[in-house]
Symmetry: C2
Subunit: 233 residues, 2 copies
């Protein structure tokens, strides 16, 4: 996704970030920059830059005379795309995927409602195009192509909502959908009902029917929750 080796400090981050988010260093653990610098065979300057980045993500806290201490999970910047990627790559991938799916279930219906009001003609066109692409690849082991259109569909919805906070969740949704297709439970072919719902959402947005777009999208996200067995009894 993001260029992996953007400098030495980036390589260090690619090693330290996942380790910390995976809980390899439990909260309260103390690291020392000099020791880390030796371990990764980089200069202290480089290690300091890496620590600064981890600090800005609230993964660690650097204090004089004590060292770099790992912060409790509850304080992490869990919306940082980098942190999300690290965690999705690690051991608590399932847990992370659940959290994000619940987030989706809250955001996307509202975003769809807003999209019905604010979407441009182009965005409406893109939306129908994506929906058609999903239909075209909904049968016969074309999961990869289906995924591309699915991701694009949800990206357009979020962008068309006109809310920058929603728009920035496009990457997160992409990760979740990709994760579901590649690693989690995913049937051979997507459920026909889900495909139909996407087509109908595109319709509703095109017809400026905000309430319907919201309701239909809520049904989609309920389906996503059910797949992960998150649901009210």
């Amino acid at each position: 996704m993001t260029t992996p080796g953007r400098g030495l400090h980036g390589q260090v981050l690619d090693a330290l970030g996942p380790a910390i988010t995976a809980g390899e260093y439990p909260p309260g653990s103390v690291l020392r920059t000099d020791e880390l610098a030796q371990r990764f065979d980089v200069s202290r300057s480089v290690m300091r830059e890496a620590v600064r980045v981890l600090e800005s993500m609230h993964l660690v806290e650097s204090r004089r005379r004590v060292g770099v201490t790992v912060r409790p999970k509850a304080e992490w910047n869990v919306y940082d795309p980098q942190v999300i990627r690290w965690r999705l790559a690690g051991a608590d991938r399932p847990h992370q995927l659940r959290s994000l799916t619940v987030l989706r279930s809250a955001i996307e219906p509202v975003a769809a409602g807003l999209a019905a009001r604010h979407a441009t003609a182009e965005q409406c066109a893109e939306l129908t195009e994506c929906a058609l692409g999903m239909v075209a690849n909904s049968r016969g082991h074309r999961l990869e192509k289906y995924l591309v259109h699915d991701v694009a569909f949800h990206r357009v919805i979020l962008a068309a909502s006109g809310n920058e906070m929603f728009a920035r969740l496009g990457d997160v949704v992409a990760e979740v959908l990709a994760g579901r297709t590649h690693h989690e439970v995913m049937f051979e072919d997507p459920l026909p009902a889900a495909v139909t719902l996407h087509v109908q959402v595109a319709e509703a947005v095109r017809e400026r029917d905000a309430a319907r777009a919201e309701r239909l999208t809520r049904e989609i996200t309920i389906g996503a929750l059910q797949e992960l067995d998150i649901l009210a009894p």
Copy 2:
């Protein structure tokens, strides 16, 4: 909020961050670390650390032979609490406040529904306590005390949802509520209807009535949207 002067690089960030998020350096602008280091009278090491942090927030991109370029607003990590603070302190505070209020309107009802399922006995107690505190300070120019209980109430709801992504929005909601009380339109006393709704949400959570908790919270957020004139015609 966060300790302001946590080192020289922090002071540089406190100056550069707001400037960039305020659009003082338009997207595509090129900065040079050496020049910045001179301007802020710090060593290059310190300036490099600051740039690394800005880079991790996707506010800037550092490339060899070209310099540090400001990224377009659409790529910023708008969920980073630091970025949110900087933007709330700057010129587009009203716009930012609207975006965040829309976000709240999507998240909080779902969070309340989940809280009704997962809240512990303690959290239920805290909730009623907060609601009572709001009632007690709802009349007679006690906005500050009212605010404290209001913030606490929403924090508990988000935390009790059991979803870490929701829980981490507590700070954001606190900023929005504080912003509304301190700088934006806020009536002398809060609307009695809003206060009642909070009490009822606490009731619903205590009685494990998820649907009711969600519906009532949606009414609260609709009120918040109306205050800012964001609403369907």
